[in-house]
């Protein structure tokens, strides 16, 4: 193994041989953080979307009005800040800040999940807002007319429909998350991209290293988008339905 490779793929083979295991472990960390971050991020996004969309009607009790208004202002600030600042800065402030000021010693990978969730949540909440607007107003009216509260309307009628239309956004969010984990190396999370940089720092062969890294990213995102397409098709439901025959009606 002592000779230095001559060709592109010779280098690729050498680097993969030496760093393959590390790349795989890095991929594991990336996937772990990105998957959890996207899931929590979506949850945050939906919750924020609901809060932002809660109407403050004239007749609402004062205390409740105040509470709604406060939480709306709070989530607006949250969204603006987390959408508006680089995730690397957020990571530095949350991780090192909490250590310096509060003395918390967070485990980097969990801190990473937290930061990514908050970040994805901020973007997602905007998408959710768009998704809610795009649902026909008649659906809201139908739900209200049977006495559903705003919250019930959201949970049972609007969000399930918005969710289906938001799957491409969730896909985008996950794909972004996979790549955004790379900034977490400032808080010493060693994910895939950092492993790539490490290999570069050792071998000084940029294209060869990032050829491997990009292939791994591509595989992850490709599999994700296929899975989400399947989910879409599943949510669209069967084209078919069975008629219940009169004879069976009694049983139901």
């Amino acid at each position: 193994m002592s000779s230095i490779p001559e060709s592109f793929f010779g280098w690729v083979a050498l680097i993969f041989n030496e760093y393959g295991g590390m790349f795989l472990r890095g991929t594991g960390a990336t996937l772990f953080i990105a998957a959890l971050g996207t899931i929590f991020g979506c949850l945050i996004g939906f919750v924020v979307g609901i809060i932002q969309g809660t109407p403050i009607e004239k007749g609402t009790h004062f205390g409740k009005k105040f509470l709604i208004k406060c939480s709306q202002i709070f989530v607006s600030i949250y969204v603006e800040i987390f959408r508006g600042t680089p995730m690397m800065v957020q990571a530095m402030v949350i991780y090192y800040g909490s250590m310096q000021v509060l003395g918390w010693n967070m485990v980097p990978i969990y801190a990473g999940v937290l930061i990514l969730s908050l970040n994805t949540g901020a973007y997602m909440s905007e998408s959710v807002r768009g998704g809610i607007v795009s649902i026909d107003l008649g659906q809201t009216e139908g739900a209200k007319a049977i006495g559903m509260t705003h919250f019930q309307t959201m949970i049972y009628v609007i969000l399930p429909q918005a969710f289906r239309n938001l799957i491409p956004q969730i896909g985008n969010g996950f794909v972004s998350a996979i790549k955004d984990t790379s900034v977490l190396n400032v808080i010493s999370v060693t994910e895939l991209y950092f492993m790539g940089r490490t290999a570069c720092g050792t071998y000084f062969r940029y294209f060869e290293v990032f050829f491997i890294i990009s292939l791994i990213y591509l595989m992850l995102t490709f599999v994700t988008s296929r899975l989400l397409r399947i989910l879409e098709r599943k949510l669209d439901g069967d084209n078919n339905y069975d008629l219940i025959h009169d004879a069976d009606l009694g049983e139901i």
């Binding site: 009790h61 659906q139 009216e141 139908g142 007319a145 049977i146 049972y156 429909q161 219940i244 009606l249």
Partner: protein, 249 residues
Amino acid sequence: MVDLQNVTLRVEHLGKTFGNHEVLKDIDFCVQKGEVISVIGASGSGKSTLLRCINMLETPTSGHVFYHGKVIENKPKEISLYRANVGMVFQSFNLFANMKVLKNCMVGAEKVRKKSESEAKQLAMTFLKKVGMGAYINARPHQLSGGQKQRVAIARALAMEPDVLLFDEPTSALDPEMVGEVLEVIKQLANEGLTMVIVTHEMAFARDVSTRVVFMDKGVIEEEGSPEQIFGHPKSERTKAFLSRFTSQ
């Protein structure tokens, strides 16, 4: 004339303006328990808007709605409860696109009325069968024909077991046979004490089913009275003109 004890719904000085377009003008109107009121009138005269205001889906620009003598205030909780008791069937159906037919009719009983799943199912099935949609419980709204959607919408409203039902053209998409069946259902419900306000373009339907007929024109109630009165001896010129085609048949 008005038996205040039995007044279920009352509308006072109701006005609704969209931009600078006055759609309802100072409407006074009351509904007594057990009444079946037909609202007729030209396209665009404000019939749907009246129902929507009564159900608080539009906030009236002026005036108030009273339910059992109590003014309906714009408080979310109160309005939700009110709406559960005062159901509505929409002109455009508004079935929930994400639920199958059965679920469409169950969700209200389950989530709003807090009934158990089996009770809600029972209820939904009863009314779906009543409107002849028992066979379609597994279909999704977009798989139904116009008339089928309309019938599911009616069943959904009925499954809430409301006190008052507001129908916005409940038979517009139905064939005469089906209209007859829905008319039967409505009569039966009326006998069971359900109060109903029905916007309709089918004069025969209005004549046969209702205890009182309201004729609306350009945002005001032009004339109201018993079916015999309105169809037999309309007073206003507008009413006469409007009904001329029907009565000449």
